[in-house]
């Protein structure tokens, strides 16, 4: 259905990009706070609580529209190198978030208000930024090489 309807594809692709801007655009500020580069006077946990509804909402729309777009060209997307890089980076971003929440965040009470969080938290922030920028770049590469 997605493949046959030109407007459906265009609208889904536009929503996918706008949702990406919302989710990654807000997540990057949490990552920059973890790195100690931005909003240093704000508690890490407070920023997280305030940002996550926006990041999460964007992420949900991005995944839904991404899934629908993929269903329209699953076979050719699967063989596309940029798509494979993108998907691997998404999995790695998930692992990075999981490691942060399960391990690094356990000691947050000790560094929540410090301008510069410990190395493990800074690394989680840096890794997240690098991976999400790679996902955006691979996504654009994919649309140039696939469609």
């Amino acid at each position: 259905m997605v493949r046959e309807s030109l407007w459906g594809f265009q609208i889904l692709a536009a929503m996918h990009i706008l949702a990406l801007v919302l989710s990654v655009g807000t997540l990057i500020w949490f990552d920059l706070r973890l790195l100690g580069f931005a909003m240093r006077r704000c508690r890490v946990s407070e920023l997280y609580r305030q940002l996550m509804p926006w990041t999460g909402a964007g992420f949900l729309v991005m995944c839904t529209t991404g899934g629908l777009l993929f269903s329209g060209s699953a076979a050719s997307a699967y063989g596309n190198l940029a798509f494979r890089i993108k998907l691997s980076a998404i999995v790695l971003a998930g692992v990075n978030a999981l490691v942060f929440h399960l391990i690094t965040e356990r000691t947050i009470a000790q560094w929540d208000a410090t301008p510069q969080p410990p190395l493990a938290a800074r690394l989680a922030g840096l890794t997240s930024i690098v991976l999400w920028v790679s996902i955006v770049v691979a996504g654009r590469m994919m649309s140039y090489t696939l469609y």
Binding site: I11, L20, V21, V24, T26, L51, Y144
Partner: protein, 167 residues
């Protein structure tokens, strides 16, 4: 789908766009899928930084986000992110415009995007900035300035999406 032209182009514009398209930079970009895709990707990264930054700072101004924190503590860094994101988007945007200057220049959606961009940037760097810096700004003024700024940048992003996908 060809969008209607908002404003008709003068001969000077058309000559300039044709010259821009024939430059070495424009032809190099036009002939390289890798450069086109790469520039488009970096353009989107810039936009993400810009819209994310404006969202964080505007929502604080609107009292929706981190309302307990002083405005200056929250808006400073994201607003610097807006400047960096805008710089990245403008440079990559110009490089993406060059190879297709005459087609994009007479595209109504692209013209609308440029008008919205000028409006958003002008508002961001004049009225909005003045309102943040004024000590006597009322919460209502702050909220309105935040929401107007956010709406303008989002409309630039929407017009950008429409330009890519409606062509």
């Amino acid at each position: 789908m060809a969008a209607k032209t908002l404003g008709s182009l003068t001969n000077v514009h058309i000559d300039f766009f044709l010259w821009l398209q024939s430059t070495r930079v424009a032809t190099t970009i036009a002939n390289s899928l890798f450069l086109l895709a790469g520039l488009s990707a970096v353009h989107l990264v810039g936009l993400t930084l810009l819209v994310g930054g404006t969202l964080v700072s505007s929502l604080r101004m609107a009292g929706i986000f981190l309302a307990g924190r002083p405005v200056a503590d929250i808006t400073g860094d994201p607003d610097r992110g807006v400047v960096v994101g805008l710089g990245i988007s403008v440079v990559t945007g110009l490089l993406l415009f060059a190879p297709r200057a005459s087609a994009a220049g007479e595209n109504g959606v692209f013209q609308l995007k440029m008008c919205l961009l000028i409006a958003a940037a002008s508002f961001h760097f004049t009225a909005r900035r003045r309102i943040i810096r004024q000590p006597a700004t009322s919460p209502g003024q702050l909220r309105r300035a935040g929401l107007v700024g956010l709406a303008l940048w989002i409309s630039v992003a929407l017009a950008g999406c429409a330009f890519i996908f409606l062509e």
